[in-house]
Subunit: 229 residues, 2 copies
């Protein structure tokens, strides 16, 4: 459902070039609970951003479903992201002027097939499962670090996307809260067939994952191909 | 060296009041490696901000050394923070227009007793010990999440403050990098007598700590008094 083909990503730094990813290939089967593990600075967020279509590779191609992302217009990309992808950012990226509830609701607003009542029920449900019902009206700067992270999680899950990209979703959570979030995601993965791709340092995520790939200095260890189980 | 006396902290939320800390008392001996542990939203960052003099309590007093912080003028507080405290924020709070090097150097600029050469040596040293020598010229948005966290750590340590307040300093770090940072802090604690106060979810911090206090729903478990060992 996701394929990354010989992808490299360079950044310009002054007059020099910094290669953050080098010839990365990865095939991810539908319904995977995949963990991308590696040291700080190894390229995990960069890779997730390429898969999530919020950045473009310097070389190589990214495919979501069978479609090559690089061939899409900005509008088509926006549609694809809105309909198929849920993103939990490492820095949360919540909208500061909106409450927790409004932040979770935001990506649902443009989906015409969801009625107003269903939208409210979904937002209530996901705020509840991450333990934030009582904080629904707090704005991001009125929330703790781990609470903001949970709003970002609820926001990504509430749209029931086919693919969830989670960049260190448990980093700011105590172990009990973090476990609750992971069990929720595992449950959604098993009951809905949602594909989860994590960037993580958390060994519990790696244990729950049905597949772990390792990245170091911008290069993937191993072939990146799907193996069975 | 730090004393918190019957401190409460309320936030105004619309027309309601939210009590984030309730009657918290804590005495911290000089040279402690103290961990404050508790669930997401329990009040750890709020307590650290009060100790770090970047917020004021609604009730109660905070003492740094023997001096009551609430009686100081804004200028005196700024001096106290600059000379005695190092703060590693949960959201890093780096200056976006400055490079990693310049961010680490920034709090040292106004200290007249440090020569230009010594300042540069200190910045080089601390960038090196957190593994960021090769990234000295990157700006925060050209760094990974864990790299930004390490810049924030280097910045707090480079001033050799008497008290370091570290709000989840390992949250965005892989286990190897995180261990390196903790060993560095433990070493500084043992050789310089620097007091460390952590807010953390990381069990390794709790294991390394010579004292752990637990907080839940804004209340400290236990008396908060110093016990021996
Ligand atoms: N805009 C940029 N310009 C230059 N270098 C960059 C830029 N963005 C990221 N980098 C570099 O690319 C590398 C990979 O960054 P990335 O954010 O993917 O790491 P990561 O594996 O997610 O790390 P962490 O675990 O710390 O979050 C890092 O070394 C970083 O310094
Ligand atoms: N400005 C504010 N207005 C209202 N409530 C607030 C405000 N700031 C924080 N809070 C609330 O105070 C409580 C404590 O927040 P704090 O940031 O201290 O938690 P924490 O223990 O650091 O959590 P985490 O582990 O998630 O970082 C939270 O429930 C939060 O929602
Ligand atoms: Mg990252
Ligand atoms: Mg906090």
């Amino acid at each position: 459902v996701v394929r990354v083909d010989h992808v490299s990503k360079d950044y310009r730094l002054g007059r020099q070039t910094f290669r953050a990813l080098h010839d990365v290939s990865l095939a991810v089967a539908k319904g995977r609970f995949l963990a991308i593990a590696g040291p700080s600075g190894s390229g995990k967020s960069t890779l997730l951003n390429l898969i999530g279509c919020i950045d473009t590779p310097t070389e190589g191609q990214v495919y979501i479903g069978k479609e090559e992302v690089g061939r899409k217009t900005p509008d088509e990309l926006a549609d694809l992201r809105a309909s198929a992808l849920g993103f939990i950012f490492q820095t949360f990226n919540l909208l500061p002027v909106l409450s927790a509830r409004e932040n979770v609701e935001y990506p649902l607003l443009h989906r015409k097939e969801i009625s107003r009542k269903e939208r409210r029920d979904r937002v209530d449900h996901y705020l509840g499962v991450v333990g934030l019902s009582r904080y629904a009206h707090h704005r991001p700067n009125e929330l703790s670090g781990g609470q903001r992270q949970r709003v970002a999680i609820a926001r990504a899950l509430a749209g029931s996307p086919a693919i969830v990209l989670a960049d260190e979703p448990t980093a700011n959570l105590d172990s009990k809260t973090g476990e609750g979030v992971l069990r929720l995601m595992k449950k959604i993965n098993e009951s809905e067939g949602t594909t989860f791709i994590f960037s993580t340092h958390d060994f519990r995520v790696m244990e729950m994952a049905d597949r772990v790939v390792n990245i170091s200095d911008g290069r993937l260890a191993g072939t990146g191909k799907e193996e069975t189980g």
